[in-house]
C-alpha cells in the first residue's frame, strides 16, 4: 500500500476562542482529493497546516512523511495556491514567476525555460509581459497556479481555486487542474465548498465540517444524499433575465428569483449535475454577461448535519 501524502492524528488548531480544526483525523493518498466543506469549516486552516505556515496546537500532521512546520526543505516538494489574491498589480506575470522561481533556487536559462514551459501549460504564454493589474480573474488564478507548479512539486495544495470565477473560467480551470494530475503527475488536494465542482475533478473526497473530518471516500454516496435536497445557486451579471426565463423551462429547475436590480438571480434546482452540465451552453447561446456564479450550499450544510448526527 502507498504511503499517505498527508496523515493527521488528533490534529487541532484554534485561534483564541475560535476553533479551526478539532481532533482532525485524515489520511490522504495519491491522486486528486477534494476537500469539501462549507465556509469556515476549517479547509484553509488544514491546508495552511499542511504547507507549514501554521503550527498545530495539538496533534500531529505529516506531509510526504515529514512534519511541515518550519520545514523549509519540504516546501520544495509542495506547491501552494492560496484562496486569496495577493498578487502585486504592478508586476508582470513573468516578473512574478521569476520571483517565485528564484524563491525555489531556479535561475538563469533554466528559469527562463521553465517559465516558458509552465506559462504554456497554464495557457498564459501570450500574457506574460502584461501587468497583473490588467489580468482577469481567470488569468490571475492561472498565474497563481503557474507559481505553485514552477518548481515541479510532488504535491499541490489548491485552496478554493475556482472561487469567484465565471462558468467559462471554471470550466477551463477544471480542465487545467485535471491536466496537472493526468499529464504532469502532480498529486493534488483541492478545497471547495461546492461538491459539484470537485466532482468534475475526482471521485475521491473528504468532507470537513466544523473543524472535523466527518467522512471520506467515494463521491457518489455523498452526491446521492445531496440530491435529496434542493440546490441553491446564485448567478450575477448583466442581461440575465433571458437566462432566468430559459432556466424556468428546464426540468431540473424548482424556482428562479430575482435579487438586487435584476442583476442577481437565485436558482433552486433538483438535479444540480444536470444544471452544471447545461448552464455553460445556455449562457453562451443567450449571450449573457455572467460575472459570478456560486452555490449557496444550504443543502450541503443539511448533509453535513445529517452525517454528524448519523
Amino acid at each position: 500500500m502507498n504511503k499517505p501524502l498527508i496523515k493527521t492524528v488528533d490534529l487541532s488548531k484554534w485561534y483564541g476562542e475560535i476553533i479551526g480544526l478539532n481532533s482532525f483525523e485524515i489520511e490522504i493518498s495519491s491522486g486528486i482529493t477534494g476537500l469539501i466543506g462549507p465556509n469556515g469549516s476549517g479547509k484553509s486552516t488544514f491546508l495552511n497546516l499542511a504547507n507549514g505556515t501554521l503550527k498545530p496546537k495539538t496533534g500531529q500532521i505529516t506531509v510526504l512523511g515529514q512534519n511541515p512546520w518550519m520545514n523549509s526543505k519540504l516546501m520544495s516538494n509542495i506547491g501552494f495556491c492560496p484562496d486569496y489574491d495577493n498578487l502585486s498589480d504592478e508586476v508582470t506575470g513573468r516578473e512574478f514567476l521569476e520571483l517565485v522561481g528564484g524563491l525555489h533556487g531556479i535561475k538563469g536559462i533554466k528559469l527562463k525555460n521553465r517559465i516558458n514551459e509552465i506559462s504554456e501549460v497554464v495557457g498564459m504564454k501570450d500574457e506574460l509581459y502584461r501587468k497583473i493589474g490588467g489580468y482577469s480573474k481567470g488569468m490571475r488564478q492561472r498565474i497563481k497556479l503557474a507559481g505553485s507548479i514552477i518548481h515541479e512539486p510532488k504535491l499541490l495544495l489548491l485552496d478554493e481555486p475556482l472561487s469567484g470565477a465565471d462558468p467559462q473560467v471554471r470550466k477551463s480551470l477544471i480542465e487545467l487542474i485535471k491536466s496537472l494530475h493526468n499529464d504532469l503527475g502532480h498529486d493534488i488536494i483541492i478545497s471547495s465548498h461546492v461538491l459539484y465542482e470537485v466532482e468534475r475533478l475526482t471521485n475521491k473526497i473528504a468532507l470537513i465540517y466544523k473543524g472535523r473530518a466527518i467522512a471520506s471516500g467515494e463521491i457518489s454516496e455523498i452526491r446521492n444524499l445531496i440530491d435529496e435536497h434542493p440546490h441553491n445557486i446564485i448567478i450575477e451579471g448583466n442581461k440575465i433575465s433571458d437566462l432566468a426565463k430559459k432556466l424556468l423551462d428546464m426540468k431540473y429547475t424548482i424556482s428562479v428569483g430575482y435579487q438586487e436590480d435584476r442583476k442577481i438571480i437565485k436558482v433552486q434546482v433538483s438535479k444540480p449535475d444536470e444544471f452544471f452540465e447545461t448552464i455553460t451552453e445556455l449562457i453562451t447561446s443567450l449571450d449573457c454577461e455572467i460575472e459570478r456564479m456560486y452555490s449557496i450550499d444550504d443543502n450541503l450544510e443539511a448533509v453535513f448535519n445529517y452525517l454528524v448526527e448519523g
Binding site: Y15, G16, N48, N51, G52, T53, L54, K55, M70, S72, K73, M75, S76, I78, F80, P82, Y84, N86, S88, E90, V91, E95, E98, L99, V100, G101, G102, L103, H104, G105, I106, K107, K110, R114, E117, E120, V121, G123, I150, H151, E152, S172, E175, L176, S179, D183, L184
Partner: protein, 280 residues
Amino acid sequence: MGIDRIKYRPWNGEKSSHFRRVYAISRKIFFQKMKSKGILAILIIGIILVHAFPILFGAVIPHEELTAEMMVGDNVLIGSYLKNGLSIIFILLLVSVACSDLIAQDLNDKSFVLYFSRPIKTLDYLTGKMGGVIGVISILTLVPLIVFCLVMIGTQTGDDYGSSLNILGKTIIAGILTTVFFISYGVMISSLTKKKTYAGVGIFISFFVLTTIGSFFTTFDQNWSLVSPTNLLFYSYDMIYGFDLPTDLNPNIFGVLFVCILFIPLVVTYFQVYRIEVGK
C-alpha cells in the same frame, strides 16, 4: 487548452540554492523600489543638493591628500562632509519611503504565504528584504561617499596615497554603517503596522521625536544627546575615523545605546515576523 506531452520536460534542477533564494527577494525589492518615482526623485534631488557640490568643489580645490578632517572634522575647505544635517534629512526621507511597505505590505495582504509556503526561512526573508532596500539606500549613503573619496584621491597633489586609501576604507565602513543604521530602524517600524503610511510617517517622526528629547535633556546632562539617533551616528563616525568621543560623554552609555539602536530593531523585526509567521 491542453498540454503537449512531448514538449513538456519537468524541471529537475537544484532546489536548495540558498543564496539564490535570498537574492531573488532582494532583486525583486530593489527593482520594485527603483521603479518608484518618489524614490527616484529623492535620490536625484538628494545627490544634487547634498553630494554634487562637495564633489565638484573637492575636485577643483587644491589639496594634498584625503583626510579624516574632510569627512568628519571641520575642514576649512570642505567643512564636514559626513556630518551634514541635510544629508540626514534626505536619507531619512528615502528610508521612510523605501522601508515603509517592506513588511507592512506583506502584513496587510498576507503576502507572507508567498514566501513561507516555499523553502524560505524567516531569516532568509528578512535578509532578502533588507538586501534589496540596502541596494537602494546605498545609492545615497554609500556610493556618493566613495565617488567623493575617489575624486579627492584622483585630484590630490601629495603622494601619500596610502593614507588617502585608508580614509577611503573608513568612509566605506561609515557608509555601510549609515545604511544599516537607518534600515534596521525603518524595517522595525514597518513590521509594527499593517499600514505603510503609518510606517513611513512613523519612521520620520520618531527620529525627530528622539532628537528633540535628546536636545531638550542635554541641558541637564550631556549624555542625553546620545538619545538622538543623528548624534549617535555622528559620534560613531568620529570613532571610525579615529577621533575620541567628547570628554563629557560616557563611552559606556554610547556603546550600549549604539548596540541598542543598531541591533534591537533587527531583533524586534525578526520576532515580529516570526510571531506572524507562526500565526495566532
